[in-house]
């Protein structure tokens, strides 16, 4: 199956202003498998996913690694929200354009 992954904020900028990714996955795959597949497509984004700096949402809820995916799920990568972290040292990379 091919899942469509929505992109927002700095991620969209980092990934050449694309608003979504198409990721081929086997049936029965989980969020961890999606992260591994994205890591092969873009190592930087994959590493941020592994560190949970970027979260994965499935059907409008933040998902865990073991969450199983289907072809009809609405999936998104969520960079840190504008009010998320209060510690400057925890800030993700700035993206200028």
């Amino acid at each position: 199956m091919i899942v469509t992954v929505k992109l927002f904020g700095m991620l969209k900028t980092q990934l050449h202003n694309e608003s979504e990714l198409k990721v081929p996955l086997d049936q029965g795959c989980r969020v961890d498998d999606l992260i591994a597949a994205i890591r092969l497509m873009n190592a930087d984004v994959g590493d941020l996913l592994l560190k949970r700096k970027i979260l994965v949402s499935v059907n409008h809820e933040v998902a865990h690694g073991e969450t199983e995916l289907t072809g009809t799920d609405e999936i998104a990568l969520l960079p840190p929200f504008s009010g998320g972290s209060c510690t400057p040292g925890e800030m993700l990379a700035h993206v200028y354009r």
Partner: protein, 147 residues
């Protein structure tokens, strides 16, 4: 009460500016038991992280953002002794000084209204998928944290 407001009008993400008076009245008109209304209004400032900011653009995740704001309203109504909660956030390009976000909480007593209002804006900033991009002299900058 003269106004029949549904959850859809009490929780909104919208591009256009809003009238603070109208939104306060929306809450005020929900009950004659309300004796205190606390508000939080977030506005666009021209300085952030030691940089000048000339404009801010907000992006949000359609569907999930509204869902999280509805959850915040429901939890505030459940966990605090308040009568009504309104949460409104703008998206798109916002000029310096303009309104961004409004929380209005009506309660019988002010202490409960203040507490719930603070909790709502803090929670909004933690769990709502909204992203802020600031226009600075160095270019556009996505912001990941608010002090």
């Amino acid at each position: 009460m003269s106004t029949v407001d549904t959850e859809a009008t009490l929780v909104r993400v919208q591009r256009e500016d809003f009238s603070i008076d109208e939104e306060i009245n929306r809450v005020r008109n929900r009950s004659t038991r309300i004796g205190g209304i606390a508000t939080f209004l977030g506005t666009a400032r021209d300085r952030s992280n030691d940089r000048d900011v000339s404009r801010i653009t907000f992006e949000y995740y359609e569907g999930m953002a509204q869902k999280k704001l509805r959850e915040i309203r429901e939890r505030a109504l459940q966990d605090f002794d308040v009568i009504e909660v309104l949460i409104l956030h703008r998206y798109g390009e916002i000029d310096i000084g303009e309104n961004i976000v409004l929380i209005v909480v009506g309660a019988m007593h002010r202490a409960d209204a203040f507490k719930a209002c603070k909790w709502c804006i803090d929670e909004l900033k933690q769990i709502t998928p909204i992203w802020k991009c600031e226009q600075t002299p160095d270019g556009e900058l996505w912001v990941e944290q608010h002090p």
